[in-house]
């Protein structure tokens, strides 16, 4: 149905996508997976002829045997035959148009379309995007994208910006509609689990190329490219706590720097000399599978389950009692009590808006609580030496105008006067070369930035480190590194962790105890393993049920 051959995308002279071939059949869900920056979105946009200004594509795109080239051809198929659903539901809808208007302008019957995406409330049509939750927006966008009954829907990470339960619902919705309509879907995602659950076939993209391709089940069962294998290995599990978390070292190189060799060369643990000689082509490894690796993939060693638990903990470090925080009418935190002992690692999970961040900010002293008490530490150490924080967005958590060195030195200067760590000490602590001190955040990858942010937090040697979704916006391979770093901070330095996340798999790897928050309240708490294995509260159960169920040997 859709055939892409030798698609190349350039930004000026810089090659971004380097010869992608794809073939999507009628009625199938095809997955395109890969780390951030591998060129997935540009591939998708090239297919509908909507590349950003300054970016050009070459190669052939055929839809039902008609070549798509030139704005006219694209315009004829856009919306009617191929539709595109984008990543960010918050940016995808015109803020000045109501949901109904948006759907109607695509030529759909508003009510039916809304019903199709599971919205029965007719008042939704009259609401503006800002009056809708993220999940609702994504549904409205989906309804608009489907308004003209396209034969192919390209969904570019449609759920990444949503929280776990909503993500689950949208994915189920997408699957249902695909089945009902017999429509083809090109699903772009960086989440292997999602790809495995939803897709019939999938392609793994790396540095602008496809490195592995085949039926989803088979890839899940046994990857044929070391990159895919690496990704799988880095995936944390919600079922058990792993003793070691292995990420892929390094980061994705720009496509134009690796045109004459295997792009994965530097990060590969089984690289051979011939890998550096030419760019390996995709070649069949089984009758439905293709891989761009010259060698057979070495099977991954079995990761043992973490045995060292429960951890010995000291006295109470943080005691929160009946905490309340209201923002005018919004009751962000209603009545939260919790304790964190010295050396303990406590997780908080909960859906978006449940008050996790607000709780953290109260503890950090960034906002004044409306009620309740927060007791921190024992002695007279100032708050900023007791508690520090790692924030979610690595791109904003470092000041772009200051070098890494000054940032760290300034942080260290806020710590105790004796035995201040130098920037290079701190960089070493988080596994970065000391030379990074002279760099600015702009030159660092997301994972590196997050390490620097951790180093900065550790500079004052705090007793408690609050991590507010520290890995939510990182790729799995990087995520694993950061998680193991945090785990060692907790276990080796004895720093307590208060770890906020909505990812159950993540929380399982780093925390001893878990609190589940809903609507500003703690609805369940207990040792992490107990809560996850035997959830009591209804919401916790739903949360666990929304985990993509995949079976593959890890």
């Amino acid at each position: 149905m859709l055939e892409i051959e030798d698609l190349r995308v350039r930004h000026g002279s810089r090659l971004i996508v380097d010869g992608v071939d794809l073939e999507i059949a009628q009625g199938e869900t095809y997955g395109l997976v890969g780390e951030s920056g591998s060129g997935k979105s540009l591939t998708a946009r090239a297919v509908v002829g909507l590349l950003p200004r300054g970016i050009t594509a070459s190669g052939s795109i055929r839809f039902r045997d008609a070549a798509l080239s030139g704005e006219k051809a694209f315009h004829a198929v856009r919306g009617r035959r191929i539709s595109l659903l984008m990543q960010d539901p918050f940016a995808m809808l015109n803020p000045l148009r109501t949901a109904g208007q948006t759907i109607a302008e695509s030529g759909g019957a508003v009510r039916e379309r809304l019903r199709e995406v599971g919205i029965d409330d007719p008042t939704v049509a009259k609401r503006y995007p800002f009056q809708l939750s993220g999940g609702m927006r994504q549904r409205v966008a989906l309804a608009a994208a489907l308004a003209r009954d396209p034969e192919l829907l390209i969904a570019d990470e449609p759920t990444t910006a949503l929280d776990a339960t909503i993500q689950h619902e949208i994915m189920e919705l997408l699957g249902r509609i695909q089945r009902e309509r017999g429509m083809s879907v090109l699903l772009i995602t960086h989440d292997l689990r999602v790809a495995f659950t939803l897709c019939d076939r999938l392609a793994v993209m790396y540095a602008g190329r496809i490195v592995e391709r085949g039926p989803a089940r088979e890839i899940a069962a046994g990857p044929a490219h070391p990159y895919t294998a690496g990704l799988l290995r880095a995936l944390p599990s919600a079922e058990r706590t792993l003793a070691t978390l292995t990420g892929i070292p390094g980061s994705v190189p720009p496509a134009n720097t690796v045109q004459d060799r295997c792009a994965f060369l530097e990060r590969c643990d089984q690289a051979a000399p011939e890998c550096g000689e030419a760019r390996p082509a995709l070649r069949p490894v089984a009758h439905t599978r293709e891989s761009a690796c010259l060698l057979p993939v070495r099977p991954a060693p079995e990761t043992p389950t973490d045995e060292r638990r429960p951890q010995a903990v000291g006295g109470t470090l943080l005691k929160v009692d009946g905490l309340r925080k209201d923002y005018r009418a919004v009751r962000a935190v209603r009545d939260v009590s919790l304790d964190v002992a010295a050396g303990e690692s406590v997780g908080i999970v909960g859906e978006s808006g449940s008050g996790k961040t607000t709780l953290a900010r109260c503890v950090l002293g960034l906002v004044t609580p409306s009620g309740g008490r927060i007791a921190l530490g024992t002695g007279d150490r100032p708050r900023h030496r007791l508690v520090q924080c790692v924030f979610q967005d690595p791109y904003t958590s470092l000041n772009p105008a200051r070098s890494i060195g000054t940032t760290l030195a300034e942080a260290a200067a806020q710590g105790p006067a004796d035995d201040r760590p130098t920037p290079s000490d701190l960089l070493r602590l988080v596994g970065l070369p000391a030379a990074y001190a002279t760099r600015r955040p702009g030159g660092l990858s997301g994972g590196e930035r997050q390490r620097v942010a951790i180093a900065r937090a550790l500079a004052v040697r705090p007793a408690l480190l609050i991590c507010d979704e520290p890995v939510a916006s990182l790729d799995v391979s990087v995520q694993a590194h950061i998680l193991s770093l945090l785990r060692s901070v907790n276990r080796d330095l004895g720093t307590s962790l208060l770890f906020i996340t909505h990812d159950l798999a993540v929380v399982r790897q780093v925390t001893d105890r878990l609190l589940v928050m809903l609507n500003g309240q703690v609805v369940e708490s207990g040792p992490t393993a107990d809560v996850l294995d035997d959830p009591r509260h209804d919401y916790t159960r739903r949360l666990i049920a929304s985990l993509p169920e995949i079976t593959f040997e890890g």
Binding site: G37, R361, L364, G365, L366, P382, R383, H384, R385, V387, Q388, C389, F391, Q392, D393, Y395, T396, S397, L398, N399, P400, A401, R402, E410, A411, Q414, G442, A453, R456, A457, V460
Partner: protein, 273 residues
């Protein structure tokens, strides 16, 4: 490449103007005030490149001497406005609450004033001359900067790096000036140049209206108006200062634009990475 040429020439023009303002009187062929009533107004000649005015004064020399008054007022005005506006904008955006509310009400009031109109009234009726005009200009144009900076600070303050700095217990002043301010540099610089242009136009406009400067001062705006009558005998006496003002203003606008584009280009990369 093209951009670079444009930016370079804008910078060169402003540098030249600054040089003229500093050393103009030294290199001027004549004393800008020296009269030659017997000569009177003449067109360009070998002795007087741009001719003379009614008092027989050399236009070229007066333009050079005028670069000083034409530029120092706007420069002081622009720097003053930017410093005041940025400081207040930082405070309003960072502290929010009462500081912000009060400052915003005041800027509302000031922005509701038709600025130059008030300036005309202030300087024209109250008097006080050039220094006052510049001071009034600063007070009148700062509110715009306050607004712009405040809204940017509002956005910056919610970014994690500011929260991190606060978590580290850094003092507010340090966070505002060392952390947030450098990130606003493109805007602040662009504002500075825009304010410079506005001040250049406003102050020369005041002189054009005959307000502020004492007669006989070699000032570009004043020269336009004084010599408007000489368009038949020596058009350059009036056109040259008008052209100079336009060129200087255009150069500053270009530079402001260029600086902003260049510096903030770093920031825009963020969206792609």
């Amino acid at each position: 490449m093209r951009d670079r040429v444009v930016l370079g020439s804008a910078l060169a023009v402003l540098l030249l103007a600054a040089l003229a303002a500093l050393f103009g009187p030294l290199v001027a062929p004549y004393d800008p005030g020296a009269q030659n009533l017997d000569l009177g107004p003449t067109g360009p000649s070998a002795g007087h490149w741009l001719g003379t005015d009614e008092l027989g004064r050399d236009i070229a020399s007066r333009l050079l001497a005028g670069a000083g008054t034409a530029l120092w007022g706007p420069v002081v005005g622009a720097v003053g406005t930017t410093v005041l506006g940025t400081a207040l904008g930082l405070a309003a955006g960072y502290y929010r609450g009462w500081t912000d509310a009060i400052l915003m009400r005041v800027t509302d009031l000031m922005i509701a004033l038709p600025g130059l109109l008030v300036l005309v009234v202030l300087v024209g009726v109250v008097g006080g001359g050039y220094v006052w005009a510049v001071a009034a200009l600063i007070v009148l144009s700062a509110p715009n900067d306050v607004r712009v900076i405040r809204s940017l600070v509002f956005a910056q303050r919610d970014l994690a790096y500011v929260e991190a700095a606060r978590t580290l217990g850094l003092r507010s002043g340090r966070i505002m000036f060392r952390h947030i301010l450098p990130n606003l540099a493109p805007t602040v610089l662009a504002n500075l140049l825009l304010t410079f242009v506005a001040a250049l136009v406003a102050l020369s406009g005041l002189s054009f209206l005959g307000i502020g400067l004492p007669p006989g001062t070699p000032d570009w705006g004043l020269m336009i108006e004084e010599n408007r009558r000489l368009l038949d005998l020596n058009p350059w006496a009036s056109l040259a200062p008008a052209i100079l003002i336009t060129v200087a203003a255009t150069a500053a606008t270009l530079l402001g634009d260029g600086i902003f584009d260049r510096l903030s280009a770093k920031g825009t990369q963020r969206a792609g990475d």
